[in-house]
């Protein structure tokens, strides 16, 4: 994977985003001041365990959060315009032509009572890639989109309903729909989790080829570090509503800095040697009563006083490797107190 240009301006700049959910006992403070930048053509992987807020974050980019969600603070700048403040018409234009999203479960992401062709054609019509009154042009474009996704016999597929297709084919349809409406940034939310292992590889390769062809940026959500390494230039590790570490893929795998990332890497079963998995004791904190400081503090082997008081800012440890942990706060020189858990 080539080193990507990072001198230009980011195409997506999330600044200090806060998202709450209204729930049974009160508010869930899920996203906690999250910041993330994506540059043109860059592929980043958002990695984290279930429930850490990855899907919530990306859904807020396209503003398709569920009804119970509230965004009390922060901004999502797309090409210097705040998506959260956009008017509906402008937002729709961005959704139709520039940003798109592939959902985790392709079966749930396709309307069960409409044919694949109908949904795809409708999206193409709204994307205004071709003259929407010309039905044949729309149909041709739809068939072409399916062909680009390596679908066999696209004309017949157009007449089918989602339940008549296999999981892999459904996901390709979703990819086709996403490609038709994206020119700048594609978000893929665990696109292969619900697919057979044999298909996973194909679909991931497809996504990579298509995004590279068009020079699109990609945000790929996954809970597998292996997939992240294969697909992304840059990996962002997320925990309980924040990005705790953000670096180029190779760097983060060779030299994880945040205690959570270290724990994740240790949890990966290694083909050589011990069969004892380290795991990370404990679970995600309650979102309804989150700790005021670092949210990993109750599971962190290196926790100390400042961690509990205030959420740590992201420190730059060189070459764009960002860590949100007081251990790397050079001002207080805590590095010395760390101990030897690295390597």
């Amino acid at each position: 994977m080539a080193d990507v240009l990072d001198q230009k301006k980011p195409i997506l700049d999330i600044k200090n985003l806060y998202i709450n959910y209204k729930a049974f006992g009160g508010l869930c403070y899920v996203i906690n001041g999250l910041s993330l930048q994506v540059f043109p053509g860059e592929k980043i992987a958002l990695v984290g365990e279930s429930g850490c807020g990855k899907t919530t974050t990306v859904k807020s980019i396209l503003r398709v959060l569920p009804r119970q969600a509230r965004i009390p603070g922060g901004s999502i700048l797309y090409n210097d315009q705040d998506i959260l403040k956009m008017k509906k018409s402008q937002l729709n234009r961005v959704r139709k032509r520039e940003l798109s999203m592939i959902f985790q479960d392709p079966t749930a992401a396709l309307n069960p009572v409409f044919t694949v062709g109908y949904q795809l054609s409708d999206i193409i019509k709204y994307a205004e890639i071709v003259d929407k009154r010309d039905r044949n042009a729309v149909k041709r474009k739809a068939v072409q989109a399916l062909k680009d996704c390596s679908m066999p016999d696209p004309e017949r597929i157009m007449e089918n309903y989602p339940f008549q297709l296999s999981g892999g084919m459904r996901q390709r349809v979703c990819i086709a729909m996403a490609l038709a409406t994206a020119s700048n940034l594609m978000i893929a939310d665990e696109p292969t989790t619900n697919l057979d292992v044999t298909i996973q590889d194909q679909v991931l390769k497809l996504i990579r080829e298509l995004t590279e062809e068009k020079g699109m940026s990609l945000i790929l959500i996954t809970h597998s570090i292996g997939v992240a390494r294969m697909m992304a230039d840059r990996i962002c590790v997320m925990y309980a509503g924040n990005i705790v570490e953000n670096a180029k893929s190779k760097k983060i795998l060779e030299n994880p800095l945040h205690p959570y990332t270290i724990g994740l890497m240790d949890s990966i079963p290694k083909l050589t040697g011990d069969s004892i998995f380290s795991g990370i004791p404990g679970t995600l904190p309650s979102y309804q009563n989150p700790p005021p400081g670092c949210r990993f503090s109750d599971r962190c082997p290196h926790v100390h006083a400042p961690c509990i008081e205030k959420y740590p800012p992201s420190f730059d440890t060189g070459d764009g490797h960002m860590v949100a942990c007081y251990l790397y706060d050079k001002e207080h020189l805590l590095l010395n107190k760390k101990g030897n858990s690295e390597q």
């Binding site: 569920p66 009804r67 959704r95 940003l99 992401a109 009572v113 409409f114 044919t115 949904q119 709204y126």
Partner: protein, 341 residues
């Protein structure tokens, strides 16, 4: 073709069920205590007259034989004579059915248009003011029997304000329109007899609305909850994320899958109206087949009871089949499950 075979199978089953129903009702009707002859002819009739009556009506034969006789006549459309109108039951039914049907058509139209409409409006802004007021009023709608609505309307619109007529189908003195469909409003409009059409409309608006109110409330609630359930699904987020405007997403992509359970409820409710209309017909003295059914029951008029019940049963079964067909039409998963990949 798969569809036709399915319909034929359903029809065949329905006939079996209808036969079963006829046995059930026949047995019920014949088990009524008391001597049918005295009830029919009155207590002062002579013994020979009663004997003649019994012979004519095969009342001396064992029950299964009576049933066969009845069945033989029934398939020809002859349900015997009504003991309280002294006319053939089939004639009574033929005359009174259109009035009830007209009432039901109005109620059904109200239920579909207002019920689904309110449901959609509620669902598009869940938790909003309209949504909450619809939910509260629908609770009231469901909790109130239709005869109470009927009486309320009568009080307010007839007695206290005099806007609408109280009882009946046509004001005395107005000639009914020439019979094309039997539905006065339609016939009146078609034949240019606007006076009769308007007059009939004034007569049916209250009972029709009273009949429909419970159904409107249920339909609105069902539509709302079905749509809200679907709106939380991923495919809606996917469609919105693809740039399709929210209004279209709701009115097309959410509505169609949501309408599947709603159609079932509406259709069954409409079918039940044939029988349940008796309450509003009673309150408004509306000359329909339901009121006739009630009178037959109160007078223990066996032939009429059986006849009307069979007609209602047939209508109910036809509607059930219709519901199945509509569900298959709306939900391709039902339609095509046999041929799925």
């Amino acid at each position: 073709m798969h569809g036709i075979k399915y319909i034929i199978k359903r029809l065949a089953w329905s006939i079996v069920v209808l036969l079963g129903l006829s046995v059930l009702i026949f047995v019920i009707a014949r088990v009524i205590p008391g001597d049918p002859a005295s009830m029919a002819l009155g207590p002062t009739a002579s013994e020979e007259a009663k004997e003649l009556f019994r012979k004519e009506n095969n009342l001396d034969e064992p029950l299964p034989v009576q049933y066969i006789y009845w069945l033989g006549d029934a398939v020809k459309g002859d349900f015997g004579k009504s003991t309280h109108t002294k006319r053939p039951v089939s004639q009574d039914i033929k005359e009174l059915l259109p009035a009830t049907v007209e009432l039901i058509i109005l109620a059904a139209a109200l239920e579909i248009i207002i019920g689904i409409g309110l449901g959609i409006l509620s669902a598009s802004k869940p938790g909003g003011m309209l949504d909450n007021s619809v939910r509260v009023t629908s609770y009231l709608g469901i909790a109130t029997p239709s005869f109470v609505w009927g009486i309320l309307f009568m009080l307010v619109f007839s007695y206290w304000t005099g806007l609408l007529p109280t009882v009946g189908r046509l004001t005395r003195g107005i000639t009914p329109p020439r019979t094309i469909t039997g539905l006065f409003v339609f016939d009146g409009l078609l034949t240019g007899n606007f006076e009769a059409a308007w007059d009939t409309f004034k007569h049916i608006i209250m009972p029709g609305t009273a009949l429909a109110l419970t159904g409107i409330a249920q339909t609105a609630r069902m539509t709302r909850s079905s749509m809200v359930d679907n709106m939380d699904k991923d495919f809606v987020a996917s469609e919105i994320a693809s740039g399709i405007p929210k209004r279209k997403v709701i009115s097309l992509y959410v509505l169609r899958p949501s309408s599947i359970p709603v159609v079932s409820i509406i259709a069954l409710d409409i079918a039940a109206m044939l029988g349940n209309a008796f309450m509003v017909e009673q309150v408004f003295s509306y000359p329909g087949v339901s009121k006739y059914c009630l009178a037959a029951i109160l007078n223990k008029d066996l032939n009429a009871i059986v006849g009307v019940v069979m007609v209602i049963g047939i209508a109910f079964l036809l509607v059930n089949i219709f519901v199945d067909i509509m569900s298959a039409f709306l939900d391709p998963r039902i339609r095509l499950k046999e041929n799925s990949a």
